[in-house]
Amino acid sequence: MSQARTEPLPETARRPGDAAPVVELRGLSIAFGGVPALHDVALRLYPGEVHALMGENGAGKSTLIKALTGVYAPDAGTVVVDGQERSFASPADSQAAGISTVYQEVNLCANLTVAENMLLGREPRFLGGIGVRAMRRRARQTLERLGLDVDPASVLGQHPIAVQQLVAIARAVDVDARVLILDEPTSSLDADEVARLFEVVRTLRDQGTAIVFVSHFLDQVFEIADRLTVLRNGRLVGERLVSETSQLELVRLMLGRELETLDRLDRQEAPPVDRDRTPVVKVLGLGRKGALEATDLEVHEGEVVGLAGLLGSGRTELARLLFGADAADTGEVEVHGRRARVRTPRQAIDRRLAFASEDRRAEGVIGDLTVADNMLLALQASRGWLRPIPPAQRTTLVARYLEALDVRPADPHALMRNLSGGNQQKVLLARWLLTEPELLLLDEPTRGIDVGAKAQIQQLVAELAGRGMAVVFISAELEEVLRLSDRVVVMRERRKIAEREGGDLTVGEVLETIAAEATHTHLTETTDGEAPR
């Protein structure tokens, strides 16, 4: 395997006049079954800094964290703690070296008290049992050190998630953590709660802890982090000082895209969208606490509306709320100009909405049923189980769509799980097309499928819109969104920040919109997205 990386990192990325790093990873490589997940990656953590670990999904962030916490053993490279080379055989080894982790979901017991959650497993003893008073005293001391005013005797579950998250941090630092890893700690917090978390993070940083901060929220990274390391496809892209990096630069580093206009799909045959008519679907102020701030959206007949934004920007959430897969706290939905109640997928289907989920394995494909059964599922459901589709009609419908979508193998009796991802996706599309929807919500329909199938699906979407179907198209690939969409809605931090005509929009413009938004608005925005319960 490769040699450990020896050449120094760029001078700009060093902390000026600082001591040695508390933890350093050098030339780290990990492969799973021959597929490299990390290749020659380096990470340096100095005491008293907040270090952001950045990268898109699949960039290798979590693999790196797991190498650091002893879950995975590296194939090559070294972990250096305090100048000494170490190897972690288990998470316990890593914890003993002073590396603690707080995961995205609160991993505590809501039914126990705050003090127990912080100290259980290493609690003070009293007469052979638990020394409850000593335990609470110690918990209180740690909480005070973090500037938290929480009663250690109270039950954890009665506190809001943010406080529970802070208690998880308190548990992590009680063992004198020198490195604290926060993996997406803010994903379920609102703005006030994030501010509170950051106070604690700053307190810890000032006390000399090195903090690794992983988040999809760029604003938060720029607010809290001192330095950042960017990964892409398992490789180190760069290590920067946050103060010397712009958001646009960071997004470019993460995505690794050249900012250029890409070919558009040939859509000459499509008639222009008539925006004066009543939209197929119109939503006003649709929102849900913790998922999406109040958002307006119109989709017209024959129009493809693309939702662009980074992961966690609220793209999927908007589609799920529209379809009733999650219940909205606020907002109204109008279908063909009439108010409609869309609280459940069932109601959405009755209004001729269709939604292909991004998680096709968990929420779409039924592997043990045949292609034909998978395809006819939604149609049968909308007819009701008392009116089975006549066998002859089944056969013709399935055959027609197998051919139209070029599903391979074109065998209606093949088991779904034996199909490739691209072909599964086509069958799922057929499932919804059979119900003849007026609005089709596609969440990442081309993710994880090969290039040929991808182009076919894109072509199909364009054709459907050409025939008058309204489509909402979600994809992490901006090029794809731009290529297909008549209109692009740009999302960031769980809200819509811009809406642009698709025509000549470039990837660069969208990225600039995403990056620029941060500097303007983010300080003025508070908890206005919070809806009454």
Partner: protein
């Protein structure tokens, strides 16, 4: 969720004892038990108003001595249910215990040896359940259902008919009474039952094992990440339940003074009912052993009610328990739904 949003204020100064007494209000976790106590008191006063002699302290004391075995069973069941499990075998283990006690005594064993044998068998059965559930990943319901049939079947292998217990030690303990001030009395079986409750309450509240039981019931994955001994705890709760079933079986032998394969049919369900009425969440993580004790007292009161009345069919016991159970489970459901 009013309590959720504001955290307690000004806690940098440790409050004095008087402050704590003055500001004490029952924590949320005590509410189910308090509800059960209220149900018990209302049932008992209703009986006192309706029937002469019902409100006598001796009637109250009799609740303990008539239900001593059930109290012990409910204690063991509380451990299991707190982890989110269930133990259906305890009724059969009670029967098996009575049969083993009767058989060994009949064979001339000394009472302490017979007692030790019974407790050992019960604990081993519980241990086996725990191992099946933890290491082979079998559903608690299925593992203990198998144990229930096996233990019941084993009874018939050991004795096809009822065997009387006429061992001197057993009879002495069974008939001995402890006189209390005021001319009231209780028995040693009640003392054993109450001692079990006290020990269990201490272990659950103050020992790492006990807190781990709650942690496992709250979130097993979290408990693992917290570095607690989850596997050992999950096996141990079934051993505790098996031990308690055997101890309950001994108390039942003293109560009936016979070993019979047909004893205690369906008693596991009474124990589960008592635990649930006592406010323990069937999904685990919440509940107190004291609640299970009060739960048993509620069941006992209903039976006393019916025996005082004389005209009511004993099936009214089942109907009342059914209604109460339903009410408690529904209240629990509503209460937990509001949790964040």
């Amino acid at each position: 969720m009013s309590a959720a949003t504001d955290t307690p204020v000004g806690s940098s100064v440790v409050p004095s004892t008087w402050d704590r007494v003055r500001s004490w209000s029952p924590g949320q976790r005590y509410l189910p038990v308090i509800a059960t106590v209220v149900v018990f008191l209302s049932l008992f006063s209703a009986g006192g108003i309706r029937y002469e002699g019902f409100a006598d302290p001796q009637v109250f004391l009799s609740l303990f001595l008539d239900n001593a075995f059930l109290i012990v069973l409910a204690v063991g069941m509380t451990f299991v249910i707190l982890t989110g499990g269930i133990d259906l075998s305890v009724g059969s283990v009670v029967a098996l215990s009575t049969v083993i006690a009767a058989r060994t005594l009949e064979a001339g064993w000394a009472a302490p040896a017979a007692i030790a044998a019974v407790l050992l068998v019960g604990t081993v059965i519980g241990l086996l359940h725990g191992v099946l559930i933890q290491y082979l990943g079998i559903q608690p319901f299925i593992a203990t259902l198998a144990g229930m049939f096996l233990a019941r079947g084993l009874c018939f292998l050991l004795a096809e008919r009822s065997i009387p217990i006429d061992d001197e030690t057993f009879s002495t303990i069974a008939f001995a009474t402890i006189t209390l001030p005021g001319g009231y009395y209780t028995t040693w079986t009640a003392v054993v039952a109450l001692a079990t409750v006290v020990v269990a309450a201490y272990v659950l509240a103050r020992r790492r094992f006990g807190r781990t039981v709650y942690a496992v019931g709250g979130s097993e994955a979290s408990a693992l990440l917290m570095g607690l001994r989850v596997a050992r705890t999950k096996v141990a709760v079934y051993a505790v339940s098996g031990f308690c079933a055997a101890l309950g079986g001994l108390l039942f032998s003293l109560y009936m003074l016979s070993g019979n394969s047909l004893h205690a049919v369906g008693m596991e369900l009474d124990a589960i009912a008592a635990v649930v009425i006592g406010g323990t969440l069937l999904t685990g993580g919440r509940g107190l052993v004291v609640g299970s004790l009060v739960g048993v007292l509620v069941l006992g009161t209903i039976q006393t009610f019916i025996s005082f009345d004389g005209t009511l069919s004993s099936w009214w016991t089942k109907i009342t328990i059914g209604v109460l159970l339903l009410a408690f489970v529904m209240v629990q459901r509503l209460a937990t739904r509001r949790q964040p």
